[in-house]
Symmetry: C2
Subunit: 382 residues, 2 copies
């Protein structure tokens, strides 16, 4: 499993430090695992990173002690990145680390990630730091915003991952046969994902047959594929820690007129969304374009989710490609930037009847976009 080079990690931490002053903090406690990974190459289910102006300390518990030590000594190790081991709890270790630092007056504001710290952790830390001069300051999305624009190391992984997941889809579509259950098909796909070189499926693979295609987040069950069924496949893979995500729909035998109409609407929305992607365009415009196309074909009411989501270390991350949620919605107005990677995945869902979704992954380029995934958009008749 490859890691980002040490120089890249150093660059990411340096870029983060540049953000400290503007938001009024002198250090940041990074608690979101995806952010910790981005800034240290460490991936575990637990682990925190304390970044000050001069130091970065990775805090892990005993389960990860050896893995973290190997990591910091290896090619992804980073001079200036220290390791601290949890004795009794993460919070206590953080307080001990904080106590060892020099907090001069004026540089005693420790940022916390408010969308990734629980109320309980916050209360504990506030209490434990009462005696010190350190105060906690809310921050949000500092690391997430940096992560939304991918660097060259990340793009090379994502391009590779996009090619691999496309080949998995091609194989999965060919293997569909009446008589197999959704769950069996999903297990085969998961195996193919790993055989294609991925670390793991990026999320629980969706295989939905017949009327189950009307459930946007269907879980594969015991339903058996039958002639005439639509079969929706939505899966992803994580490669070296980065996620891609792809959806296509097959028809077991010739599709009926309804299915053709849904597919045509979704395909036109997919094309309309891609057509507006270029640097500087607000994220919400991509959604608006897709929604308009589906609405024009009479299925606006049946497009019940956003058009897409950013992809990277997390399978859902910034930018958000969806509707405006309130009159002043900063995330809707985020301008697309070169290096952003996200899905475009319009869909229509007719409850108890059926549905279609078509999803691709793309990279924003100087002149528009580059598709990372490559599978024909047809309703695949098998």
């Amino acid at each position: 499993m490859s890691s980002a080079p040490a120089t890249r990690i150093r660059d990411r931490i340096a870029a983060l430090r540049e953000r400290f002053d503007p938001v009024g903090i002198s250090a940041l406690l990074v608690t979101h695992p995806a952010n910790v990974f981005y800034l240290s190459n460490f991936r575990g289910s637990a682990g925190m990173l304390l970044v000050t102006d001069t130091r970065a300390t990775l805090v892990v518990d005993a389960r990860y002690a050896t893995a973290a030590a190997v990591l910091l000594d290896g090619p992804g190790g980073c001079p200036g990145l220290d390791l601290a081991l949890v004795e009794s709890s993460y919070e206590q270790t953080i307080v001990a680390c904080v106590g060892q630092l020099d907090w001069s007056p004026g540089v005693d504001r420790l940022g916390i990630e408010v969308t990734h710290m629980t109320v309980a952790q916050h209360e504990w830390l506030t209490q434990a730091l009462t005696a010190s001069s350190v105060t906690l300051r809310p921050t949000s999305d500092l690391v997430e915003e940096a992560r939304s624009v991918k660097d060259p190391d990340e793009l090379s992984i994502l391009r590779d991952a996009g090619r691999r997941i496309s080949s998995v889809m091609a194989e999965a579509l060919q293997g569909l046969r009446p008589g197999r259950s959704e769950r069996e098909v999903a297990a085969d796909i998961d195996r193919t994902i790993v055989r294609a070189g991925f670390d793991r499926p990026a999320f629980e693979t969706i295989v939905a047959a017949g009327s189950n295609t009307a459930l946007p987040h269907a879980r594969p069950g015991r339903r058996v594929l039958e002639p005439g069924h639509l079969v929706l496949l939505d899966f992803g893979g994580a490669l070296d820690g980065y996620c891609v995500d792809l959806t296509r729909v097959a028809s077991l035998g010739p599709p009926d007129d309804d299915a053709r109409a849904w597919h045509a609407a979704v395909r036109s929305a997919h094309a309309a969304a891609l057509a507006v992607v270029r640097p500087g365009v607000a994220a919400v415009e991509v959604d608006t374009a897709a929604r308009r196309a589906i609405t024009e074909r009479g299925f606006g009411h049946a497009f019940t989710h956003g058009t897409g989501h950013g992809l990277g270390i997390e399978v859902h991350e910034a930018p958000r490609i969806g509707k405006r949620r309130e009159p002043s919605d900063a995330l809707a107005d985020v301008p697309l930037r070169v290096g952003m990677v996200f899905t475009v995945e319009p869909g229509v869902y007719l409850p108890s009847c059926g549905g279609i979704r078509l999803e691709d992954d793309l990279l924003v380029t100087e002149t528009g976009y580059e598709l990372l995934t490559d599978v024909p958009l047809d309703l695949h008749v098998v």
Copy 2:
């Protein structure tokens, strides 16, 4: 996928309401997905449940609207359980639901789950409720404590799951061969887990070969199994929403003296832990017994994690079977109760060298315990 009967859901909600008065709340906003599932049969990556003295409202977004409606109408549906659809955000919908309720003075304290609500959510809700008479009150583990003692519906699933995962282990051990990579073996195991009837693997399957066995949370990689390797298999399955978890170690060819000594130490710890399990014993005593046995054999320093963890809707839940973390540690002193289900999984890890872990799942009974998993504890020589 079967669901808890409506009467069972009603009982669980009634038991929760009994806890309201003692902790000084008149309603609870349930935000932890596992708790939402326990109280409603709804499982999605998002979803909240607002429980008052007289009503319970499941709040889901459009992606889950159909699934939730089908669920509430089906055999697991529950009269008195309402459905509310998210318009713009979960928080806004919750505030709207709260606004529709009758909050008389004295019954205007809305409990929140502090270990499952972020600082950002808390600030938003506090702000949004300023104008109302409702105040937010911190609570923790109200639902988790109830979940730690399994009811008959849960036990019947867990017993079934324990049998199934044991058969997967037997098959996995037989299939180990030099020349295959950790990742290939893991993919085979995941497939076998699904073929055995599970919804999915309960967590990322661990296959660690050679010195990788020294990493308690190893991720399967490209390392190829070689003659003489120890191979550690740690995997689980989720059946109807409930998790089981099992670890065994094989030796490709006769193990050396070191491996035998580690195995003997861990096996004695496993036996020592089981020997103390009965109702009324403090959870920490199970850990103490295992730790003492390993220490007596000279590997105390190499047993770097707790002895076990509760199992159920989550693969790690109450009770915690580990060391005392501070002089007054309520979780360490939790008395074992009939119906608790947890793992016993002592291990030793010698960095860069190798390790052994043996894990089983058990149920606390009136007279001691019942093992849910059943695979010989030997170092399996293949």
